[in-house]
């Protein structure tokens, strides 16, 4: 019952940004956060509901690898990609919004949903915004 949202506006057409999030040839350029790389041969994308989405991120400093295993649950070009990580129960929804011109907003919404609250209506009722809560936590722990 946790929810996180990250948003960024990119200066590129929506179709292109959408493809970047779905094609290994693009993902290899940006998927790993700073200090890591994501080699092409470590990326598996089967872009259909039930299809596998796996990435192996390698720490540049010590060579340690981290594998993310997910399954696509919804793909709606060029608007939305949803995958879930069976290991953690986390559901990640990427939404692509055309802002006009060549600007595109990408919104990443992550929810960690218990099995009993799987339906969209239940999620909406039970999820609590955690990114706002992060700031609240900091005031408590400081």
């Amino acid at each position: 019952m946790a929810e996180l949202t990250y948003t960024r506006v990119f200066d590129a057409p929506r179709e292109l940004v959408f493809r970047c999030m779905l094609e290994p040839g693009h993902l290899t350029h940006f998927w790993g956060p700073a200090g890591t790389s994501t080699p092409l041969d470590g990326i598996t994308v089967d872009p259909r509901p039930g299809g596998v989405f796996e990435t192996v991120m390698i720490n540049d400093a010590d060579g340690h690898s981290y594998t993310m295993r997910a399954v696509y649950t919804e793909i709606v070009p060029p608007e939305r990609i949803v995958w879930s990580e069976p290991g953690s129960g986390m559901i990640t929804t990427s939404t692509f919004t055309d802002l006009g011109g060549t600007r595109t907003e990408v919104r990443i919404h992550q929810a960690d949903v218990p099995d009993s609250f799987r339906s969209p209506g239940d999620q909406a009722r039970f999820l609590t915004s955690l990114d706002r809560f992060a700031a609240y936590l900091e005031t408590l722990v400081s």
Binding site: A2, D11, H26, W31, A34, M68, E85, L137, L140, V141
Partner: protein
């Protein structure tokens, strides 16, 4: 990275309730008894005790066994762990977005050139 251990799941579930967050905010100012914690809420002592049990089970608070009024104590390490996880996850996406921005610039430059 996006590995969520069971205890962290329980922590986030515990934090998802406004009454429990208010209890934690109270305890951040110092230890308190069940009676003191119940005061600001329109809630019975058993109701508050139920919330305290949830907080205790995920390790966010502890209660001394010996003292008569068993004061509650905030376990800051658990809160830190939750805050750390959120921060790490936020950073991963921020850095990923930075790289995607650069990648989009590269391929569009190439396309136009």
């Amino acid at each position: 990275m996006t590995v969520v251990d069971d205890r962290l799941d329980a922590t986030f579930a515990a934090l998802a309730d406004p009454t429990r967050r208010a209890i934690l905010a109270h305890l951040a100012t110092g230890d308190a008894t069940v009676n003191e914690l119940a005061e600001p809420f329109d809630m019975t002592l058993p109701g508050i005790s139920k919330h305290l049990k949830v907080l205790e089970q995920c390790g966010l608070i502890s209660r001394t066994r010996r003292a008569q009024f068993r004061p509650c104590h905030l376990e800051r390490e658990r809160l830190d762990a939750a805050a750390d996880w959120i921060e790490t996850n936020r950073r991963i996406w921020a850095q990923r977005f930075d790289k995607l921005e650069a990648h989009l610039r590269d391929i569009q430059d190439t396309g136009h050139g």
